[in-house]
């Protein structure tokens, strides 16, 4: 900072930017600027009109419009991308979930709510395992950490739908109930899990308890 005193200027004088006549005339500078804007305009207009835009994911650092035009274009997610949850199904179409509450216990965001229920009298599974009467996930609270999937002993909850949460109109729409979670498909279109399940009564089933083998 230059301070003027009786002894003259103290301190380092700030160098003024050089403005040669070509800059002062302004017109050449404007033309230079317009060259840049026109280059972008012509290239982008051409590529949009002829459908030649660079791939927004693969060539995201290339010149041109590399914005992902959602929803027409969707970024391909990695294979193990943690998307919206789904409840996997058994062969008979009922949920694999046995309502053990491991997932809701593991959930750091506490966004899973399960109301367990007993199977009706006479069902083979009664007394052996329960089923979720209600299974609710608040996808707006979910932090997509995947702990629920890790915690599940039955491979009943998975995050392999490959879908992210869409922007819905209201918060209520983010509260996914059991039916919705069961309707969701994996990326290969399946509602089941790759791991086989042995139902009580199956020959491969180890037995409902130590005393009753089959």
């Amino acid at each position: 900072m230059a301070i003027e005193t009786s002894k003259g200027i103290i301190g380092k004088p700030v160098p003024r930017p050089k403005r040669p006549a070509s800059t002062q005339a302004f017109v050449p500078e404007i033309l230079k600027g317009m060259r840049v804007t026109m280059r972008h305009f012509f290239r982008n207009t051409k590529e949009v009109a002829l459908d030649q835009r660079p791939d927004p994911t693969m060539a995201s650092l290339d010149e041109g419009i590399t914005t992902v035009s959602y929803p027409e274009q969707k970024r391909p997610y990695p294979e193990r991308f943690r998307g919206l949850h789904r409840l996997t199904l058994r062969e008979d179409g009922s949920p694999r979930c046995v309502a053990c509450l491991c997932c809701s216990t593991a959930c750091p965001a506490q966004c899973i709510h399960i109301v367990p229920a007993e199977y009706p009298e006479g069902d083979k599974r009664r007394g052996y395992e329960r089923f979720p009467d209600q299974f609710v996930i608040d996808e707006l609270r979910c932090i997509f950490c995947g702990f629920c999937v890790e915690a599940c002993p039955c491979d009943a909850i998975r995050m392999d739908t490959g879908q992210h949460a869409a922007p819905y109109d209201s918060r209520d729409q983010f509260i996914f109930k059991k039916n919705l979670l069961m309707a969701a498909k994996a990326r290969d279109g399946s509602r089941k899990s790759q791991n086989p399940r042995h139902e009580p009564g199956d020959p491969t089933h180890p037995g409902v308890d130590r005393d009753h083998s089959h």
């Binding site: 317009m34 804007t37 791939d55 994911t57």
Partner: protein
């Protein structure tokens, strides 16, 4: 002041109004889309109308049949007319056929490239070859036309212009319609018109928005402001000629009411005018200037009217009961006062050169000599800067500078009144472009095209002369004027998206301490040069004539070069440098690219 006067004036007002309104609407769309393209964005294109593919197919069939039928009957009617008219129509249709031909080959090749197979795709490795071949064919057709004198019977040239062109053009239109028909998918098709529907939807939204008037505002003046801002923008177009003077020779009494009574009005539009006119001098009877009002004050009327528009901004700023609005209105008025001086004085040099303040005289002078940008280059830049400042556009948009005074004088406006301000701004842009074109870019004049046809000359030496029918010359002139105006509008939009806003004191400094002295210097220099030219002998006059014609040649060459550069640039294969290494890029590569559903941006 007979019926013809009212009929033609009404028609001219219609043309000018339609041009102004449509240009303003296009500019509203163009500005947003263009800014997006400059900034590597897609821009607003979400508004879409879904039409069943069947409706589109029927539409394409009807339009294609109508166009092909119109072209076919046009050629058929022309074949009954005199030889020159027939030749001109045949020439136009042949050029159209060539155009449709190479564009059709490109379209077919494009669709084949998507499939990865097909005759054109395999035999033409580079799309630019088609473009160059098409250009060569265009030139060949022109050369063929140059060799026809109009007296010969038979021969290849006449076969082309009498038979092949008039038959091929409608046939190719029909083929293009068929090709479009086949490429329309069944099921619903989203129509976006390149984002134009988005601008349309925004306009409709504006009309239905709440019209808010601040409680303490002056209700009358608040409503009057946008009207006053919009009205002068429209009326300035009245003095701008959008085409050369048409000569009409009614085969009739020449009196409108008598002609109407005898049922001869229609014959006037059916080509009962003389096919040729002379280069100099306007026809003595039946002259219809393509200009709503040919005022003897010419451009002074424009200054008066354009200056009135600012009253709207000032009134709006004052009546809104808002400090920011008031500041904006004040800035607008002071800026107008400052730049109106430079605006007027910058053109004085041009008046001195052209020897007239009437727009049509200016265009005639430029057509016979050189375009204004060559004789008054300094005035062009001064006028451009001053007219941008007059329109309150970037970089002179301090009156609405949103970072300082929110929105300036139209801060308290909403709904349609705000829309009127915005619309007025775009119409003013169109007007200033039209004035720039008329004063500096030859208006409706094209290089070497005169009232009697094409005359390529350098000074006294005439290299080539081709008589063109009056109808074609007028049509070319009108197309040239509107085309030039659009190109100038487009360039002005670029200025807006390139330059940052000036500070308010910089605006004032530029106006008073740079533009004004420069304009004065320009006047003095122009005066001295004119005196020197007048005083010098005829030798200097001849040299200037050669230079003037050379400048017309330069314009022609630049235009052709720009067209070729544009065409080959569009058809050049896109350049890709490489791909970003990221996890999503890797997954996209494995998936064969980003999945994309059909979209029309």
């Amino acid at each position: 002041m007979d019926g013809y006067f009212f009929l033609f004036t009404g028609l001219k007002i219609l043309v000018v109004l339609l041009f102004a309104i449509n240009t303003a609407a296009l500019l509203t769309w163009g500005e947003r889309r263009q800014s997006a393209m400059i900034q590597d964005r897609i821009g607003p294109n979400r508004a879409v109308i879904f039409l069943p593919g069947m409706v589109l197919k029927v539409l394409v069939v009807l339009l294609g049949a109508a166009a092909a039928g119109a072209l076919g009957s046009y050629g058929w009617i022309a074949s009954k007319r005199s030889e020159p008219v027939r030749l001109d129509v045949g020439f136009t249709l042949t050029e159209l056929a060539v155009l449709l031909g190479w564009m059709g080959v490109l379209a077919v090749r494009r669709s084949q490239r998507k499939k990865g197979e097909g005759l054109f795709f395999r035999s033409i490795p580079d799309a630019r070859w088609v473009f160059y071949a098409g250009l060569t064919l265009h030139v060949l057709v022109v050369a063929l036309r140059m060799n026809v004198t109009g007296d010969e019977r038979g021969g290849f040239a006449l076969a082309v212009f009498h038979v092949i062109g008039p038959v091929l053009a409608p046939a190719l239109v029909a083929a293009a319609a068929l090709f479009t028909l086949m490429s329309i998918p069944s099921g619903k098709v989203g129509i976006r018109l390149g984002g134009m529907l988005h601008a349309l939807a925004d306009g409709a939204k504006m009309a239905f928005k709440e019209d808010f008037i601040p409680p303490n505002a002056d209700r009358l003046l608040h409503s009057l402001g946008p009207l006053i801002a919009l009205f002068p923008a429209f009326v300035v177009f009245a003095v701008i000629p959008f085409g050369d003077t048409v000569c009409i020779h009614p085969d009739s009494t020449g009196h409108f009411w008598a002609d109407l009574f005898n049922g001869r009005i229609g014959s006037m539009f059916n080509g009962s005018y003389s096919p040729y006119v002379s280069r100099y001098g306007i026809c003595s009877e039946g002259a219809v200037p393509l200009q709503v009002a040919n005022l003897n004050v010419g451009i002074l009327y424009m200054f008066a009217m354009a200056g009135t528009g600012i009253i709207g901004a000032a009134i709006a700023g004052w009546s809104s009961d808002n400090k920011f609005s008031l500041l904006g209105g004040l800035r607008a008025s002071s800026q107008m006062v400052s730049y109106e001086v430079a605006l007027g004085l910058s053109l004085v040099g041009a008046f001195m050169t052209y020897g007239s303040v009437r727009f049509d005289d200016m265009v005639r002078w430029q057509s016979e000599n050189a375009w204004g940008i060559f004789v008054q280059p300094l005035a062009f830049f001064l006028f451009l800067a001053a007219s941008i400042a007059e329109n309150k556009r970037v970089p002179f948009d301090a009156p609405e500078g949103e970072s300082e005074i929110v929105a300036g004088y139209y801060l308290e406006y909403s709904g349609f009144k705000f829309g009127m301000f915005m619309f007025g701004e775009y119409i003013e842009l169109a007007i200033s472009s039209a004035v720039l074109v008329t004063v500096f870019f030859g208006g409706f004049a094209l290089p070497f095209l005169h009232r009697d046809g094409i005359t390529i000359e350098l000074g006294e030496t005439v290299y080539y002369h081709l008589a063109l029918s009056h109808r074609l010359v007028i049509l070319l002139g009108v197309i040239a004027f509107f085309g030039k105006t659009w190109i100038t509008c487009w360039a002005q939009l670029f200025i807006r998206w390139t330059i940052p806003r000036f500070r308010y004191d910089q605006i004032m400094k530029l106006g008073w301490r740079f533009l004004l002295p420069c304009a004065l210097v320009n006047i003095v220099v122009t005066g001295v040069v004119l005196l020197v030219i007048d005083g010098a002998g005829p030798a200097l006059g001849r040299t200037l004539d050669v230079l003037a014609d050379a400048s017309q040649g330069i314009v022609l060459l630049l235009g052709v070069a720009a067209f070729i550069a544009l065409g080959s640039g569009i058809l050049a294969p896109p350049r890709r440098h490489g791909r970003a290494v990221s996890s999503s890029a890797t997954f996209a590569e494995a998936a064969g690219g980003t999945p994309t559903s059909p979209m029309q941006a």
